[in-house]
């Protein structure tokens, strides 16, 4: 199935590429537009310059002609008296100027009476041949020729409109007409010199801006003086001429205002071009034009566009590659971040589980004066699996400290499960090794990851100070009294190491004021920067220093040890959980104001004796009747239990009842030598059952628990010893 993340990533990649491409094209387009405008501006300027220069060239050339002709006017004058010499004159003129196509001298009518009205010596060039003749006749009456008429009338020299050669329609001619004068200053004749416009054209088309560019020359009447043959792209220049002669055609004007600009589309090949024409000031009314084709004008731009496009594509490819790369890196980064966050949250869960389980309120038993407990758990960055716990049930302190071998969530889970099981077992089992046994079975079963737990369980009987304990591979426990002692511990394996490991209970008697100190290897193995460990010796040294202080409390002890460890570690990173637990036993023995002792046989009828015994004690203490009755009931139930069940049916046995009282509390100690039975381990009766569900028995202990403040059981030397206490005063 397509991963929605990758297709979303892909479409965003594509979006980036498209955006980049669009941007690049946009920029490119703007650049191109600008370049185009610039080229056009340039073209205008260049065209204008070309037209001006070329028109000057044309003017100069024409002037050369007219000047040359004018310089010969003395010659004309000289030969005027000799009409026949004029033929040679014309011939000479044509011979000397290869550009001249013809030359005629049209005499003013009747100038030479002997020659008749019309006399026109004429030389023309036909290819290689030069022919001289007299052109005038009645059929060819030059006096009717408009140019002759104008020349005579206006006494002016001028260039004619272009016209086709009669003999060769492909040749265009233009005639310079000028009057000549005799010695008296009168006009004698009008000379006409014909030039092929090709000659002018050769000037114009010598050099061009672009390969296909060309110039044309038009007369003031819009007739073509010159257009290049064969070189121009048109078959004819009608389109160009049409544009120039059409004043309504759409055109623009150059910046200087002198050049008129047309854009056109070639009729034949549909190519675009531009036409610039200019009316020079001193070429009469002649107009000179230059034609350029867009594909040549903008050729460099087009080339540039292609290069641009290729570069853009290349750039986009590179961009695509980079995006791909960075996307991959990004997703790797995201992955790594996700994993780290995942791990972090797992660690947080694990830490939360761990910290939730540990008792956090200190002092934990403010109402008691025989016990002081302080504990501290500082988790490492990577959650370890340390745990400690303590609670009081039936006047015994159940405490434990443990360290799971695995770290993080699995370790925390094992610890949590172990803790729950431990609490459940300790709810009715006061023998540490039995608890340890059950825990071991639970951890060892299905222990594929070979997780193991070091553990120390202790049960301190508060009335007597008897400490029973079991150690499963855990660190050495210290008893701090007048001196530092190590608690002797059997070498049991940690939990989970071996499924059928047998655990045994050891015991020791605590003296008033003794303190138990427990810790995990977070303390022993604490490392400093030089990788040295704190070690047992330093622990012992620290404890030694503590006992020098008379009034050391569990909190002070743990604070001192923590400070020492911190001083040693000196800033190096904590690699394992640091757990410390200190328990101080401070029994207060109050002076007794009552002490009574009674021994009964295990017969039901002895109960009356018992009740009387109890009532006399409560009376001696001036106890309020209701309270006394409650106490009587509790004691009766407890003793009845012994009487009925401690000994096998038919056997005789005794039950001993001791009553002690100080000024606030009354205490009953019931002893029998019967079968090992812990009434405090019995599961509580369910008082919510219906009539039919209620069992007949089980109420005795229930009543004892509910009526008395505390009960406590010990089995010592084959004796069941049940204590129960009630505050009767204060």
């Amino acid at each position: 199935m397509k991963n929605p993340k990758t297709s979303a990533a892909r479409s965003s990649q594509i979006a980036i590429l498209i955006t980049a491409a669009v941007l690049m094209l946009l920029i490119s387009g703007i650049q191109q537009n600008y370049a185009r405008k610039e080229i056009r501006k340039n073209l205008e300027r260049t065209a204008e310059m070309e037209l001006i220069i070329k028109s000057i060239d044309v003017k100069h050339s024409l002037e050369d002609v007219t000047l040359a002709l004018r310089n010969r006017s003395w010659e004309f004058e000289q030969f005027l008296p000799y009409p026949d010499s004029l033929f040679d004159v014309t011939r000479r003129i044509v011979e000397e100027n290869p550009n001249f196509a013809g030359c005629c001298i049209a005499m003013v009518p009747n100038y030479y009476p002997e020659k008749g009205r019309l006399f026109e010596p004429y030389t023309l060039r036909r290819g290689e041949v030069i022919e001289t003749l007299q052109l005038a006749s009645e059929e060819h009456d030059y006096s009717k020729n408009p140019d002759f008429i104008i020349a005579v009338k206006n006494d002016s020299s001028f260039w004619s409109e272009p016209y086709h050669d009669e003999d060769d329609p492909n040749v265009r001619l233009i005639t310079y007409t000028f009057p000549i004068y005799d010695a008296y200053g009168d006009m004698a004749a009008v000379v006409g010199v014909d030039l092929s416009t090709e000659w002018i054209g050769d000037l114009l088309n010598a050099k061009h801006m672009f390969p296909s560019s060309y110039n044309i020359l038009l007369s003031g009447e819009g007739r073509l003086i010159y257009s290049p043959k064969g070189k121009n792209r048109h078959k004819d220049v009608d389109q160009i001429m049409g544009l120039i002669n059409d004043s309504t055609a759409k055109h623009t004007v150059s910046a200087s205002g002198r050049v008129t600009i047309f854009s056109f589309v070639d009729w034949e090949d549909r190519s675009k071009g531009s036409l610039f024409y200019y009316t020079p000031q001193n070429l009469g009314s002649w107009r000179i034009a230059v034609i350029n084709y867009d594909d040549e004008v903008f050729e460099p731009l087009i080339k540039m566009s292609w290069i641009n496009l290729l570069l853009t594509l290349a750039g986009l490819l590179v961009l695509a590659f980079i995006i791909q790369r960075s996307a991959r890196n990004l997703s790797k980064l995201q992955q790594a971040t996700l994993e780290r966050e995942h791990i972090n949250s797992e660690l947080n869960i694990a830490r939360k589980i761990q910290m939730d389980m540990v008792p956090k309120t200190f002092p934990p038993f403010p109402e008691r004066n025989d016990l002081n407990v302080y504990g501290s758990l500082v988790p490492a960055k990577v959650v370890g699996g340390d745990l400690y716990d303590f609670f009081i049930r039936d006047e015994k302190l159940y405490f434990c400290i443990g360290d799971v071998s695995g770290k993080s969530v699995p370790g925390a889970l094992v610890m949590a499960a172990g803790y729950t099981l431990y609490r459940s077992l300790a709810g009715h089992e006061s023998n540490p090794s039995r608890i340890m046994q059950a825990l071991n079975e639970a951890v060892a079963e299905n222990n594929e990851t070979n997780m193991f737990v070091t553990m120390f369980i202790g049960v301190l009987d508060l009335p007597t100070g008897r400490l029973r304990y079991c150690n499963a591979g855990h660190e050495k426990t210290f008893i701090i009294g007048q001196e530092i002692k190590v608690l002797p511990a059997k070498a049991h394996l940690p939990l989970g190491a071996m499924e059928d490991m047998i655990y045994t209970t050891q015991e020791v008697k605590l003296a008033p004021g003794d303190m138990i100190f427990l810790y995990t290897d977070g303390l022993t193995e604490a490392k400093n920067e030089k990788h040295k460990i704190f070690g047992l010796k330093r622990i012992e040294a620290g404890l030694q220093d503590c006992i020098k202080n008379e009034s050391v409390t569990p909190e002070k002890l743990i604070q001192t040890m923590t400070d020492r460890m911190n001083g040693f570690v000196d800033g190096a990173e904590q690699s394992d959980d640091l757990t410390l637990l200190a328990i101080q036993y401070t029994p207060q023995k109050k002076p007794l104001i009552l002490y009574e002792n009674l021994t009964l046989n295990n017969k039901v009828n002895e109960i009356s004796k018992l009740n009387a015994f109890v009532m006399s004690a409560t009376a001696a203490l001036n106890m309020e009747k209701g309270l006394a009755n409650q106490i009587k009931l509790a004691v009766e139930e407890a003793v009845t239990n012994c009487v009925e069940y401690a000994y096998a049916p038919g056997t005789n046995g005794t039950v001993n009842v001791v009553i002690e009282a100080d000024d606030a509390k009354i205490r009953f100690i019931i002893t029998d030598t019967g079968v090992d039975f812990d009434p405090t381990g019995v599961h509580k009766a369910d008082t919510t059952l219906t009539v039919n569900e209620r069992p007949i028995g089980g109420l005795g202990i229930f009543l004892v628990r509910n009526l008395m403040d505390s009960i406590n059981y010990e089995r010592i030397d084959g004796k069941n010893i049940l204590r129960m206490e009630k505050q009767y005063f204060g």
Binding site: N611, G626, T687, L689, V691, R694, L699
Partner: protein, 100 residues
Amino acid sequence: MNTNITEKDGKYVVALEGELDTAHAIEVEQAMQPLHEVSGKEIIIECTKLDYIASSGLRILLGLLKSAKANDNKVVLSNLNDEIKDVFKMTGFIDLFEIK
């Protein structure tokens, strides 16, 4: 400890006097034995003069209640003193019995 059983208007009244401790439990149980054999009757346990009851006593009452259900008898406890009521409350017996 006295157990007096009287019959009145088809009802049985059991007056318990004294302390129903374990020592006296057996005799009270024996005295109440006939009540396990009647049926369709109302049995009133009169506790005005009952000073004390232990778990063995509660056991007896529970046994009576069970057989009463089987025999279609009705059991009512009347005039329990406060201490005994407390014990009933503690053990949940207060919800089992009809108490007046």
